[in-house]
Amino acid sequence: MSEALRAENIVKRFGAVTALDGVSLTLNDGEVLGILGDNGAGKSTLMKILTGFHAPTSGQLSVRGESVALRSVDHARSLGIECVYQDLALINTLSVYHNMFLNRELVGRLRLLNNREMRRRATEALDDIGVTVPSVDEEVARLSGGQRQAVAVARAVYSNAKILLLDEPLAAMGARESGLIIDLLLRLKARGDLSIAMIAHNYAQTLEIADRVVLVQHGQITFERRSAETSAEELLDVVRREYRAHRGG
């Protein structure tokens, strides 16, 4: 299996704080990787390095086997890396279709927005991955949490993502809503043309979606297994053990 994305020995310091302390991980082609860990463990920092938002203090990234130094989010994007942040980066006061095309707006004559074409393509893209919203003209503020998440994911997928990074896609959502998102992610996984890394809190839900999981704790990866070979109980055990060892040490 070939690699979509690989991080080697990533260190990230913010002043005196070491957020990541030598993280190495690989995301294979077409797989879903779950990145688990507590708040402040460094998951979000890792994510922001993979998206080109932060530059690592040291360490090496490679995309499809070629080493790269990501200069910006746009640079990462040009390599097919798309990200859905926890805050979703949606604009509440804009319509669904304007959000789908945020910073990729289609323009026509006189560089004016081509709203008709954006509306058409947004409808198509949402249909394509089975996301339903009341209307693509609706302001995002009026959507439910699950719909908002789905729009954010659809936006990332639609922009020709090869590598999709999701930050807590199931956070702060009711059972029905998170069910919708899990179904959406499983559908995307079934397409097979996307490599997905998702940061999450919930072990059971993550194991349901991911092919493989890693645990991030105090800036390091402490555990890695195929989802089929582990369980929520085992993961919880490892977290407890590490936590005690870390405090004791």
Binding site: V73, Y85, A89, I91, N92, L94, N103, R111, L112, N115
Partner: protein
């Protein structure tokens, strides 16, 4: 009336009410009807001209202030830029530049002021409320220094003077054109979308790869340039360049026009056309009460009340809009 009919009426009324600019139009029309009924001189050619002259400068500045309010910024010094610009035209022309070029130089200086305000605000992270409070005094001092505190005349031939504000309705024509351009900029261009994005969700906009600093700084530059342009129009119309023209009064009128027109003070949404309508409401109030012989002190009370009512109804209508789904 049958229930069905009533339902249809309520629906269309509902649609009208949730249309952003609707409430301002209703208010403007009611005010015009009231003042015309109280004083038949209201809808005369002479008075409409006076009215248009009052409305135009604040409507032009409002276009800029609305863009700034949408991206959660404000320019408190727009009224001082308004006073500075015609002096630059005057002195540049006296130094030998053709008047058209002198106007362009003045607008370029105004744009530079906007760049400065933007760089300090965005680059150093100073709230624009503070930055422009500083530039308010700074620009005012600059104008007073270069003018020596005395008014100057204006430059330029009759045709240019005519076009640039001296023709009976020149200023309001400029205001309408600028409003139309501003509306297209906000609703139909990437710049407008990104301005809304920056105001609603700064982090999200940055994460989407939008150059948020460029948007914020650019809107400061648009505002200072428009403020300078309005000041130049005003000087050409009056035929005199006054170091104390505009000031905080015109800036507050512009911001009030924007807010009355339906622009949110919390960022992320607004309407340029609403700004022009807001300026019309303020102009009609000012002019109407003047015709009725209400004194100037009373006028401030009325304007204050009007702004409060407008903001309260904005919040209220915003809630109705939110409930519609």
């Amino acid at each position: 009336m049958s229930g069905q009919k009533r339902g249809a009426l309520r629906r269309s009324l509902g649609r009208f009410l949730v249309w952003r600019e609707a409430s301002v139009i209703v208010v403007a029309v009611l005010l015009v009807v009231y003042f015309q009924a109280s004083n038949s001189n209201f809808l005369t050619g002479d008075n409409l001209q006076t009215l248009s002259q009052f409305i135009a400068p604040s409507a032009i500045i409002a276009c800029g202030e609305i863009l700034l309010l949408i991206c959660r910024e404000i320019d408190l010094s727009a009224g001082q830029t308004f006073a500075l610009a015609p002096f630059i035209v005057f002195y540049a022309a006296q130094a030998g530049l053709p008047v058209v070029l002198a106007i362009l130089v003045a607008l370029a200086v105004c744009a530079l002021l906007g760049l400065l305000i933007g760089l300090v605000t965005v680059g150093l992270g100073v709230p624009s409320f503070i930055t422009t409070l500083g530039t308010l005094f700074l620009i005012n001092g600059l104008t007073l220094t270069i003018s020596g505190g005395f008014p100057a005349g204006t430059v330029g031939g009759p045709v240019l003077t005519y076009i640039m504000g001296n023709a009976p309705y020149a200023e309001i024509v400029w205001a309408v054109l600028i409003t139309a351009a501003g509306h297209v900029l906000l609703r139909r261009t990437r710049w407008g979308m990104h301005t809304i994005a920056v105001g609603d969700n700064l982090t999200g906009a940055a994460e989407a790869g939008i150059n948020v600093a460029r948007i914020r700084i650019g809107n400061f530059m648009i505002t200072t340039t428009l403020a300078g342009f309005a000041g130049i129009l005003e000087a050409f119309r009056i035929g005199s360049t006054d170091p104390l023209a505009g000031g905080s009064n015109i800036m507050f009128l512009a911001v009030a026009a924007g807010v009355i027109g339906g622009t949110s003070l919390t960022g992320g949404s607004g309407t340029i056309i609403g700004g022009l309508l807001g300026a019309v409401v303020l102009g009609v109030l000012q002019d109407g009460f003047t015709l009725l012989g209400i004194n100037a002190f009373m006028f401030d009370i009325i304007i204050g009340a009007a702004i409060l009512v407008a903001m309260i109804s904005n919040v209220y209508l915003g809630r109705i809009r939110g409930m519609r789904s």
